[in-house]
């Protein structure tokens, strides 16, 4: 969520200061520059990951009172307290404890819940596929809405259709995801009886049944998501359509749909692709709400349940893993983008 703020923040900044990378100075240096840049990016990723883990650790351990009692819950026994003290190494100094905890976490051990006895890492991993499926389906649905509307808006820019779609988009961005989900339930499930509001089916129950359970939750995210994608595609495509090679394609006598599909779409879709990657990370937050509303057994719902139950180790592990996933996805996309961005190549070509 904070990231969308930053994305919109970028729009507020006047041209020259926006994060424009300067074109690569020369071909020979390009590789070295790329490697250096990637290394710096990876270094920063490492620092951020350490900071995130310290913060996550600090949140629990900075709580007032005895951590053992906090973790153990209200109705715990003295033996239990002793065991927790032992498990968490509460007799050691916080620094040692952090190192022990981080070491365990690196080897895949995030401890286990003292309320349910489940190991934290295993229960998160078991729920990961549901969350990932939700994210992927919502992105696909969002793309299905964003591509046609974005193309129409770009080709008929400033027309009535463009204004209408953009107006709808503007309004949709003012609907928080929980209201969108609620409206989806109300309309499609309660009023129209098209789809069930809840009732997760695992993939083993059949692909169709499984997908059916994801349609409404996916739409709830996609309905908000498509606006961002549509805007990105629209503005990139408007730029593309002014390029000389579009005029050239039209001069070949190609019909408009061919010009758009073969010549304009691909060069306009690079930013779209990056944004999709970033958005998947962004929606890790939304999944908490959507999974809860639609009773999907994913990470978000697990995290919220743990919060309600004050299951501290589960919450700690959940936050750590979600944040790690988010940071890593974003960094990977950043690096991959810089390496494969063809526009850097073209810019180099134009300079030559």
């Amino acid at each position: 969520m904070a990231r969308i703020l930053v994305k919109t923040a970028e729009r507020q900044i006047p041209g020259p200061a926006r994060g424009i990378r300067s074109p690569w100075p020369g071909r020979r240096n390009r590789m070295a520059l790329q490697l250096g840049w990637t290394a710096r990016k990876l270094g920063r990723l490492g620092i951020v990951l350490v900071a995130v883990s310290v913060l996550t650790f600090g949140m629990l351990n900075g709580l007032p009172g005895d951590v053992a009692y906090v973790v153990g819950g209200v109705e715990t026994t003295p033996e239990n307290i002793a065991r927790i003290r032992q498990d968490l190494g509460l007799d050691h100094s916080p620094v040692i404890r952090y190192l022990m905890w981080a070491g365990d976490a690196l080897s895949g051990d995030l401890g286990h819940s003292y309320l349910t006895g489940e190991p934290v890492m295993a229960s998160i991993l078991a729920r990961l596929p549901v969350t990932l499926e939700l994210l992927v389906i919502s992105q696909i649905l969002a793309l299905c809405m964003a591509i046609p509307t974005g193309v129409v808006c770009a080709c008929r820019c400033n027309s009535a259709a463009d204004r209408l779609i953009n107006g709808i988009g503007f309004a949709t961005l003012s609907i928080p995801s929980f209201i969108m989900a609620l409206l989806a339930i109300y309309l499609f499930s309660i009023r129209l009886h098209w789809l069930p509001a809840t009732g997760y089916m695992p993939l083993s129950a059949g692909l169709w049944k499984n997908l059916r359970a994801f349609v409404l939750p996916g739409f709830s995210i996609a309905l908000i998501e498509w606006v961002v994608l549509m805007r990105v595609l629209r503005s990139d495509m408007i730029t593309t359509l002014q390029q000389d090679y579009i005029l050239m394609a039209r001069a070949k006598g190609l019909p408009p749909w061919k010009v758009i599909l073969h010549h304009a779409f691909r060069p306009s879709s690079f930013t779209l692709l990056t944004i999709i990657g970033l958005q998947i990370g962004r929606h890790l937050g939304e999944t908490v709400i959507v999974e809860t509303l639609f009773a999907l057994p994913g990470i978000g719902r697990m995290l919220l349940k743990a919060i309600y139950n004050r299951d501290y180790l589960m919450v700690q592990g959940g936050i750590l893993l979600i944040t790690f996933g988010y940071v890593t996805i974003n960094a990977t996309i950043d690096i991959a983008y810089a390496i494969i961005d063809p526009r850097i190549r073209w810019r180099g070509a134009n300079v030559r």
Partner: protein, 295 residues
Amino acid sequence: MSADATARGLGPGFWLPAAWIVIVLAAATTAGGLPIANPDRIHWEAMAAPPGTAANNVDSTESGGDHSSPGTFWLGTDAMGRDILSRLVYGARVSLAVGLVAPLIGIFAGGFLGCIAGYYRGHIESIVVALMDIVLAFPGLILLLAISFYVGANLTTLILSLGLLTIPAFCRVARGHTLVLAEQAFIDAARLAGAGDMAILFREIIPNIIIPMAVYGLMVAAFLIMAEGALSFLGLSVPAPTPSWGAMIAEGKEFLEATPHISLIPAGLMFVTVVSFNLAGDSIRSVVERRESQL
């Protein structure tokens, strides 16, 4: 066409949403003096009443001189028989407190950091940017959940943590503008005239970034109202009896089939308010942009 729009300045696209925000704000601040029901009072005989239900049989209740009893439940009652209109008015206090106060934290702290980073560059800038990256590393809602979980939820911690969340964004806006401004000739002129760094920051740079920061603040306000709504929808915002829009929507979701108004009315209200903030910000921004492009 564009010339007309400039001549008009801020059109109805700004004044209508602005008027709505003022109305909501006025209602929220004067809630105690408005002729509306007590938001916590339970009307046993009118549970989940639809909008417009007359409440005349309610007046004969034991509480005698309760002048806050309404004649009509204009927006109906919720599942516990509480007047929705008055709960909305009181709930607006939470939403607006969050939406209007939390961005101030972001504007001051983020603006300060951004100006310093953009003006001094070098190590200060690297440190600020790195710090902001760490805050941004957390998915926003997850960070909010964590804070409200560990620190506990009340209005103060809510405003503080939401405000904290907006610092990186404001910081980036401020830094971007400062970077551009610092290159301009009038900054050099001020420096040649003997102005110190602080004088330049406060007299030349800050006045020039106030408008973009304020415009952005409106959009952040819209975002924060939604974020607070999400938190209170999950029951992690202000504690239970205090009315808040998100909680009202959550309370009604079990009764969506029979009495959808319990959820949908607060949802609609939240939407209109959020749209208003967005529209107001957007219209100011486009006017500012048009003026700048004409210079």
